[in-house]
Amino acid sequence: MSDPRGAGVRPGLLARLKAGLARSASTFSDAIASALGSGRLDQATLDQLEEGLIAADLGVPTAAALIAGLKEERLGKEASADEVRAVLAGRIAARLAPLARPLAPDPARKPHVILVAGVNGTGKTTTIGKLAARFKAEGHRVVLAAADTFRAAAIEQLKVWSDRAGATFVAGAVGGDPAGVAFEALTRAMAEGADILIVDTAGRLQNKAALMEELAKIVRVLKRLEPSAPHDVVLVLDATTGQNAIGQVEVFQSVGAVSGLIMTKLDGTARGGVLVAIAEKFKLPIHAIGVGETIEDLQPFEADSFARALTGV
């Protein structure tokens, strides 16, 4: 009876865990005949292309599927590597293009509420500063809410961005209830007839249940004041992140009803290829990309140039 696996209620859980272990089929098989004649698309070239995609963080399944499609059509046909690359870029772009959609605040909303969330250090606060500046430049009245009450000096950081952008700034006490700050900010934005309210939230890893619940609570509390709010829930992804980004979208989506994505840090060497898998799976709009640390370093997402960078065209 003292055998840990022999008794008690634990086997229930483990049995269920084990029962769920579906066999994973390998998606990629490279047991293909060797290179065909030169000038024709051969397996070696395909392998090389696939590796390029993997190195750009597309992930094995997505890279393999793209290459498989290409192979079916073109294997053995005349085509230079560059042509094939361009075809590949075109295909990726075609998938992403329908999702390229800038944030478009609804002028009928006073205010249009944008909630910004994501894991730690992805660039939420910085992106909010950039967005605020853009909306200001478009003539909107913008309020920023410092609902990250946890991270050291997060409030001060957003305050600096708020001043740079010329927005109105609402904050609460350090360590206070983030939902309370969001509530107060929305109350104020409504009273002042502001056009846009952007709520900054603390970074949270998607496997932290309590923190995800905290985010869900912010959404609930906003809805109490304005049932249609938040009108956008933007998840900020870091381009240097690998396959974990898929899990991020999945969990944030289920908790906070993510409505769109922004990918930051594309000014480095990371290509953010995981976005292709994410686009496929979640079909979420991609609003913008971050390309630096200054206030103007936010660009609209362009499927074409993004896809070209991925494939090295």
Partner: protein, 450 residues
């Protein structure tokens, strides 16, 4: 152990009863799966290739031990080589030299440098009884210096007073002087995040290193990093010659292949890992655990240790006594939920278990997740003390009140009550069988079924 990958390899070796040494074709077929596993874990492609080549050479001709399958044998070779590549267990910070000894923190934007600086300061102060001074050289990010100051207050570690407009190299000089005059053992220098391709900022960091002559230059890397890890590692190594790596956000649900990429490309030991946002969330690096994680084999050792750490022994003993006397009530259940949360919630727990990636779908289908736990906890918290002691009090109007208070519904409240009653029955039985079992299985055992 070795389940997820072994299972996959099982398919390759199915029907293969032959024993003896691993053949070339066995190894090649198996390593194809290993390659995918490593790439899925975000190990950078060039590192994967090199690793596979090394293992290939090692594995061919290895005798398959009697009790295991060829697939398991390959995994064993892979795992061992991975542990070996990941490096030594618990490589300590080098703090030798005439005080003040400088430690320089560098890395990409948002990787966790400032937080890690404060954690290391806290650790050196608490554990090693060192007198530590911290200084932020980050003149780029808004409120970065303020951030370190606040963290210093939280950690009880002094920070260099901020002078607005001072340049990083000058701050470094001032920090060293202040440390010397103040009789500090260690001076921790936090720097701004910088892209490895940003020539100006890389040059600035090199200049800071020149001035401060750090005993350790720690490259702080996000464990969620993907393929870009290689380029980051290459450039930082060329320019700043780091002496160690810190992997942050290892508390995430992440396979952490970046650890292998970093180790392989920088050649530096991984000295520490960040496992949370609080000051004490800094751990030693255990290669064997990380190897299992990278291969998707879960980390049972860590789970066991974590459970031992988080489960309050007194609480467990009290709970045991209550169960024995048949007094297990809703307060105890709420307690168990809190306990689970301390261990990182369902996903935190699952992350440690083998084969769990695929089991998650199953759990999701059964609606066993943290949100469910959070909702159930909310229901309990909306009950009065007397209700928690005696669920029989819960009539229709009370249930409606509880549902409203917890933002749930009456059927959900009913479900929890029903589960609780079933559970209390089980508890009674468990209590009768062997009280130790409860202590050992308290948490997973109490996960109610949806």
């Amino acid at each position: 152990m070795f389940e997820a990958l072994t299972e996959r390899l099982g398919q390759i070796f199915e029907g293969l009863t032959r024993r003896g040494a691993l053949t070339e074709s066995d190894v090649t077929a198996a390593l194809r799966e290993v390659r995918v596993a490593l790439l899925e874990a975000d190990v950078a492609l060039p590192v994967v290739k090199k690793f596979i080549d090394e293992v290939h050479a090692k594995a061919i001709g290895t005798d398959v031990i009697r009790s295991v399958t060829p697939g398991q044998m390959v995994v064993k070779v892979v795992h061992d080589h991975l542990v070996q590549t990941l490096g030594a267990e618990a490589d300590e910070l080098r703090l030798a030299g005439a005080p003040p000894v400088a430690i320089l923190m560098v890395g990409l934007q948002g990787s966790g440098k400032t937080t890690t600086t404060a954690k290391i300061g806290f650790r050196l102060k608490e554990r090693d009884r060192k007198k530590v001074l911290m200084a932020s050289l980050d003149t780029q990010r808004p409120a970065a210096q303020e951030q370190l100051k606040v963290l210093g207050e939280q950690a009880g570690v002094p920070t260099l007073p901020i002078i607005a407009g001072e340049m990083p190299v000058d701050i470094a000089r001032r920090a060293l002087t202040a440390a010397r005059l103040g009789g500090y053992d260690i001076v921790l220098l936090d720097t701004a995040g910088r892209l490895h391709v940003d020539e100006a900022l890389m040059a600035e960091a090199a200049a800071v290193a020149d001035v401060s002559q750090p005993a350790e230059t720690l490259l702080v890397v996000d464990a969620l990093t993907g393929q870009d890890a290689v380029k980051v590692a290459e450039r930082f190594t060329q320019r700043l010659k780091p002496t160690g790596v810190v992997m942050t956000r290892m508390d995430g649900d992440v396979r952490g292949g970046a650890a292998l990429s970093m180790r392989a490309v920088t050649g530096c030991p991984i000295k520490l890992i960040g496992v949370g946002e609080k000051m004490d969330a800094l751990d030693q690096f255990h290669p064997a655990r990380v190897a299992s994680r990278i291969l998707g084999m879960g980390d049972v050792v860590s789970l066991v240790e974590k459970a031992a750490e988080t489960i309050d022994r007194d609480e467990a003993a009290k709970l045991e006594a209550r169960v024995k006397s048949g007094k297990f009530d809703m307060n105890d259940l709420a307690q168990q939920f809190r306990q689970m949360r301390k261990m990182g919630g369902m996903d935190g727990l699952l992350a440690y278990l083998p084969g769990v990636q695929k089991a998650k779908a199953q759990l999701a289908a059964n609606k066993i997740d943290d949100r469910m736990l959070a909702r159930q906890e909310a229901i309990i918290l909306s009950m009065t003390k007397t209700e928690r002691k005696n669920v029989k009090l819960l009539n229709g109007s009370r249930k409606r009140r509880i549902a409203a208070g917890s933002g749930t519904s009456v059927p959900e409240v009913n479900r929890l009550v029903k589960q609780f009653i079933q559970m209390a029955d089980v508890m009674k039985k468990v209590g009768r069988m062997d009280p130790k079992l409860l202590r050992r299985h308290g948490i997973p055992g109490l996960i109610p079924r949806a």
